[in-house]
Structure formats: C-alpha cells, structure tokens
Symmetry: C2
Subunit: 458 residues, 2 copies
C-alpha cells in the first residue's frame, strides 16, 4: 500500500527512521499530562537538527497540516496535544549541550536537553541554571522556554524568561529566527514573546541560557500553624518584612494528612497548614535571617518551628513537599492539579474561598502552593467513574480560577494555557488585549498552522 | 486665518490649551539629545489622561499623519524626533503617582512621572524602583519603559523591563491595551515587546512597576590601573570570581584627564584607567566581599585602591563618574556619546580596538563604561565647524559599533535605536529576524503611523 503523500514527503525530507506513522505508535502522542482530552496526530517526526525542523515545517506547509512541537510531554494543560491532527515534532533527539562558558555565565543547548541534564553538568562548578520546575527530571529546556516554566524557586529567581539570553526558532515560513544572545538590545523583544508562546509562533530549536552563581549556603525550616489563615498571613508578613526566601511552600491539612499517612513525617496532629521556607546566601547573614524568620513564624501563630540543622535534615524537609503530589493517589483515584495565581496579599482570601467552593460543590480539595509568589495549586479529587463527581470537580475548578481572576490574579502561573485554560482567556483579557495578541500571532503564522487551537480563543 | 483642519480637530478633541502649533513653539520639539538631525512637528499635544491620548491617536488617524510619543526628550538616539512631521504627544502632564503599595511592592504611575519623582517618593521607605538611568533627574518612567533604559546599576538589577509588571498603552487603532500587572502569566508577552519599542507599537500611558528592597549597606572603592587592559581584565575576573557588584564603572585616561583638570579628584598621574566598584547587601557579608574585591584589584595590577570609609567619601567617589560627561566640554566643543555592548570577556579587546580606531581616523576618543555589563560609552570629540573632522568622527563611530557587532555584541545597550542606529539593524540582525520584527510592528500599526522611520529600517 502506498504511503499517504504527507508521510512519504516527511520520510524523504527527514529520513524514514525519523518518522513515525503507525497508528499504534501514534497513540503515545495523543496527549500530555492533561489526559482528559486526547487527539492522535497524523505523524510524529524526530529531527536531529534545526535543518530537519525546517524540513518538517516546509513539508507541513506544503500539505497544509498543523505542526505541533513537543518536548517530554510533561505539560499539564494540553499545550502539545494535536487537537486538529497534523505532525508532532519531537525535539527530544536534539539533546546536546553545545557550549558552557562559566566566565560568560552562559549555556547554549539544543531544545531537547532535559533540564536535569544541564543541572547535572553544572553540579560542582559553583554555577546553576536557576529555574527548576517540579518536572525538572523529565521536562526539556526548550519546553521550559515554550511554556515559560516556573517552580519552587520562582519566588527568588523568577521564571524561565528571566534566564533566557537567546532563542533560535523555526518560523511558519521555514525561516530560522535567532534572537539574542546579547542581553537586552533595545529593540522589539521577540525573545520574551517566544517564551511562553507554546509553539504558536515558532518551534524553538536552540536556547542560550543565563547561568547564575549557586548559593553556597542554605537554611530550611518547617513551620506548622493551626490554621491556613495564620500560615498565609505569615507569608505576607515575611515578604513585607523585606526578606525574600529562596522558596516558601505551603501545604494544607488535607495534603498533610495524605503525606503523613503515607510517609510518617511527624506533623503536629493539629496542624492546619505548614510552610516550608528556604533561605540561601552567604553564611554570615544567614543565621540572622533565619532567626528573624523563626521569630516571624512564631509571632504569627506558628505552633511548631522545626529548623533543619544538617543537609540531610533539609533534604527531609523538602521531601515532604516533593512527595506530596504522589501521596494524593492515596486519597483519590483521579485528581486535577489546578494552577492559579493571586497577589500575595490575597492569599488568605483565595484559600478561604477555595474551601468554600469545595463545600459548595461537594468536592474534596487539598492544597499545595508556591505561597511566596501567590501561586496556588489546589488539587481537586474525584472518581472519574462517577460522572456527577467529574462534573462537580470541573465546575469547582472553573469557579476557583474565576475567583483568582476576581482577585486581580491569573488562571495560570506556570502551567500555561494549552487547551485547558483557553476558555478563561476572554475573562482574563480585554477584547483589545486579545486582539493585539491575535494580530501578533497572525503576523508570525498567517495560515494558522503552528499549534492551532491553543493559547488564544478562536 | 482659519486653522489647518488637523490643528482645529486636535483643539476640539483635546482642548485649545493642550495643543501647540505656533512654528516658534514647535522648534523645541524638533529633536531630542541627538541634535544632529532636526525635524519640526506639525503640532504638539499635551494630554492629561489616557482618554486624551486616544483622542490624539484618533485625530492623527483621521488626518493620516504620524504620531510620535515623547517624555522629557533626554533620548540620545533621536527616538522621538518627528522625522516625517506629524503630531508629538508630550506625556509630561500625565505625571501622577497613582498608587504605592509596599506590601505588594508595587507602584502604579502615569507615563509622564519623572524617574526621580518616584525615587523621592520612596526615599526612607526602605524600598526603591531599581532602574536609575543617568538621565534620572529628567527622564520619565514612560520614556524609560519605551526605551528599556539601563544605567549604572544594570549590572546587578537588570534593565527597565525586569522591573515592569504592567503597561497600559494606546494602540494605533485607538484601542487601549492593558498588559499585566500580574507577574508572568504564561501567554504572549506583549509587555516585554512594548518595553523598548520606542513608541512604534503604541503610546505608553501608565505603568505598573516592581519595587524592590533598597540595600541597607553600601561599600565603594576606586581602583587605579596603569593600563586599560589591566582594568578590563580585572572586571572579567571579578565576575568570574562570582561577585556581582552593584555597579562597576570604568573611566580611561582621556576622561580622567578632563575630570582631574576640572575638579581635582587626585587621580594618580600615571593612571591609565580607574574602576569605581560599588557593593551592597547585608552588613555582615560586605566586609569580606570588599576585602576580596580589593585583593582582586591588587592582584590584577591596581596601583592604588581607595576605599570609601564614610557615606560622604562614597558620594565623592561617585561624583567623579557622574561629573565626567560634563567635563568633556573642556576637551571639545562637540562630542557624540556612543553606546555599544560586548560580552564581558571581550571588554579588553573592544577598548584596544577603540584606541586603534581613534588613531586610524585621527579622532580623539575618551571612554566611560558600565564595565560590569560590557557596556562601553566611547565619547568621540570633534569640532562641528570642521566638516572633515565631523566626517571622521562619524566614520570612527560606525567602525567601533561594527566592531561591537563583530564581538558578538550590539550597537546599543541602553540608548535605543531611534534614527541614529537604524543603519546598523541590517548588520545586527539576519533578514529573517528583521522580517519577524517588521511583521510584528505591522500587526500593531498596519498604516505605519506610530513613530515612523524609527527602530527598523524601511
């Protein structure tokens, strides 16, 4: 049987080994970690070079089919789900660290390099690439840039865009765009637009990343509070006191119960919430900062403050946060991790509202949060076999995101829009704002072939 | 005599008091600090509100004339010169600080608020708006955003875009765009594109700015070196040692001579260059850092290191840098401050090349530099009555910017493109890059009326 012309052309341009089109193999690429919406692509290609990405773009253009870029598929919002079919471009074989220059504090990497690979490469040099999304072990640096990924250290270090010095991307017309790697030339900043564009403006093939000095010393502490309110108020007061911890994570009673049951960390039984706070910097100033931090926690109602005295104790403190999402499986067979952000001072309010919304929809919601930057991750628990429960969970999810918008926040801090959040865009942005974004997108992709159906409502 | 229809309409829409059209009054607006190219506008308007800016845009659209936004006119590249006539929109009467929230670390200001006004407002609160361009005393925050201004503290604190949380702008079609003020929603980042767009995408009317904690302690030192080479090598080594000073400024023998003659700071007579280095942070770590810094300067050939022991001494150290450009008037009746940037490790090379270029073109060039971020400001001296000298100065300026490009740098770090640097864009960016920027610009301004002739070559 003759191959469809699209497949034949892809095989001719990229080599047969680099093209997958058997239906059974395509199933793997029908969604990312947003598993409730699946669509199979027509083909998946595995380019080894920017030139091969150009070939894929040109072939899709010729056959007038969508082209969707994908890294490790760890996204939570369906950003790389091929909702309209077409060709998925897997960037995972473009996985070379091309250059490391510590004097210039620069790393040049292909888009498919996993974040952890760069971290391991830098271990022991005294330098780091700061953004460490929770998916770090799998997610690619190109994917981190395309979604402008955050993570627990966003509070101190910012998100991905703050650490990108340059981007190479293949545009819809097959041309290769290079912006940077010089910092901040005062011209139209295509770099920041590409960060977080989720493959709608171009396929990112190479990135120049800023390296920063790794902190020499860390201090971590765990503060338990009887109420979530006390914990969130403490977060506000710490920031207002002018201390920016490296990270400040919150877990509420619901998630603590699951973690305690699974791993026995010994949380105080009456803890309504805990904060895990990490400080870093030069040794001399740290002791004093830590003392202040403990003081602030206690004066705001902490019923227990545990200070890690050793690196091992610090690791244990972090473990209870890092294992928390895994522990949710003990509570429910299905769950949905939401991603909302509010101004820090609205944290107490949003967590109270989440509790009300949970009661109102009769949905169990437990909370983890990158509290320091106002980024909440309510986890909605449901049984996917119970249609009414699924409906109630989805309704509760929508309502809590609406509440984030009402607080002057947003429906995504770090997971992106993808297909999951697209319905919120019209509530989040005024018509003039969406029009400007649409015009920008059309300027890059006049035929609407780069990851169509994502990011902006039709 | 009846007024021209454009003027009549502007007076009707904005009020007669807010429209200037007498030729004698228009002369003031025929250039910014790039004085070698002057063009008179047809009218100048002084809106007091975003609604009045909309009225100005709509009127210009109706009459099909260019519209050029302007703050205090301190730009060095002709960014607000009305090269094709049209209407200049002066934003200096939109000068209200609308909101200050220290807990949210946020300031909301109208575009015409001078940078210094916000700085004075924040004095004593423990917070600051970090970007402090040298023009700070006059330049407006809207202008700082439109040019993505830098300054001496760029090294540690980044440029304007790193401190902008939201922007309101009036677009070419009269619609009001608001991006932000929530940090980093993962969507198309129009904010960063507007920063540095020099009025070509829209007229910035209001900005939300990030406040940061002001450093509690400062240390400053002045290190003199017999050669520029030793000074630039020291800069590289300080950064490589993992110390990021708050600022690290370089002055060469040429500028030192002028400053010494005018103000008698007592530089060592054999100094080929000096570095002014500022450190800030918590008191406890500072002593040690300063000791390390002095050690690094000495081991890299410093012939004198002067440490400021008091706030007054620190002020004196800075004074010699701040007065330097003013002192240039003693050397020459005309001069041109160039603005180039190179990777830090190329600093020794670029300063050697600048000296060669000066010799080759028989032009006197003296240097100041934000050395820590590779930003050189060679000052070319000439007599504007001597045509051959002017020609040679312009040729030398072009050659040294070419050299910055050849080093992997750029022709502007902080002064923008305007009209002055437009000819370099084709050397700086590949055709695909310029095409993408042009498409983006056309998406915002299809009729080419927002500050035409700037930023991108035709």
């Amino acid at each position: 049987m003759a191959l469809p012309p699209l497949i034949a052309d892809l095989r001719r341009r990229l080599g047969p080994k680099n093209v997958v089109h058997a239906p059974s193999e395509l199933a793997v690429y029908d969604c990312d970690a947003f598993t409730v919406d699946r669509h199979r692509p027509d083909a998946v290609v595995f380019p080894h070079s920017t030139a091969q990405v150009v070939a894929a773009v040109e072939t899709c253009s010729k056959h007038e089919v969508p082209i969707i870029s994908r890294g490790s598929g760890t996204g939570l919002a369906g950003g790389c789900t091929p909702t309209k079919g077409g060709v998925v471009v897997m960037l995972t074989r473009m996985n070379h660290i091309l250059e490391l220059s510590l004097p210039d504090r620069l790393a040049v990497v292909e888009a498919g390099v996993p974040n952890i690979q760069l971290a391991r490469h830098l271990a022991g040099t005294g330098y780091q690439y700061a953004p460490d999304p929770s998916s770090q072990g799998a997610s690619t640096l190109g994917g981190n840039v395309a979604t402008n990924a955050g993570g627990p250290h966003t509070l101190k270090d910012g998100v991905t865009v703050h650490h990108v010095l340059g981007i190479e991307a293949v545009l819809a017309d097959g041309s290769i765009l290079q912006v940077g790697p010089v910092e901040d030339p005062a011209v139209l900043d295509l770099q920041a637009v590409l960060c977080g564009s989720e493959g709608t403006l171009g396929i990112i093939t190479k990135v120049w990343l800023r390296l920063t000095r790794a902190a020499e010393n860390h201090r971590a502490l765990r503060a338990a509070f009887t109420s979530v309110d006390d914990a969130t108020a403490t977060v506000s007061r710490i920031i207002a006191a002018g201390i920016i911890p490296a990270a400040m994570e919150l877990m509420d009673r619901g998630i603590l119960g699951a973690v305690e049951e699974a791993f026995h960390f010994g949380f105080p039984p009456d803890a309504g919430a805990i904060l895990i706070i990490e400080l870093d910097g030069p040794a001399v100033g740290l002791e004093e900062k830590q003392r202040q931090m403990v003081e602030l926690c206690r004066s705001n109602g902490a019923c227990e403050v545990l200070e890690a005295q050793t690196a091992k104790e610090r690791e244990t403190l972090w473990k209870c946060r890092k294992l928390s999402v895994g522990a949710v499986g003990r509570l429910s067979n299905s769950y949905m991790i939401q991603d909302g952000v509010v101004p820090r001072t609205r944290l107490p309010h949003i967590l109270r509202r989440i509790a009300e919304i949970a009661r109102h929809h009769q949905v169990r919601i437990v909370n983890v949060a990158h509290a320091g930057d106002g980024n909440v991750h309510p986890i909605l628990l449901f049984d996917e076999r119970d249609r009414d429960e699924v409906r109630r969970a989805l309704a509760a999810g929508r309502e809590l995101l609406d509440e984030c918008i009402a607080c002057g926040g947003s429906v995504t801090a770090e997971h992106g829009i993808g297909i999951e959040k697209i319905e919120f865009m019209e509530r989040l942005f005024a018509p003039a704002d969406l029009r400007a974004m649409r015009r920008l997108r059309e300027a890059f992709d006049p035929h609407g072939r780069m990851n169509p159906g994502k990011l902006l409502p039709a």
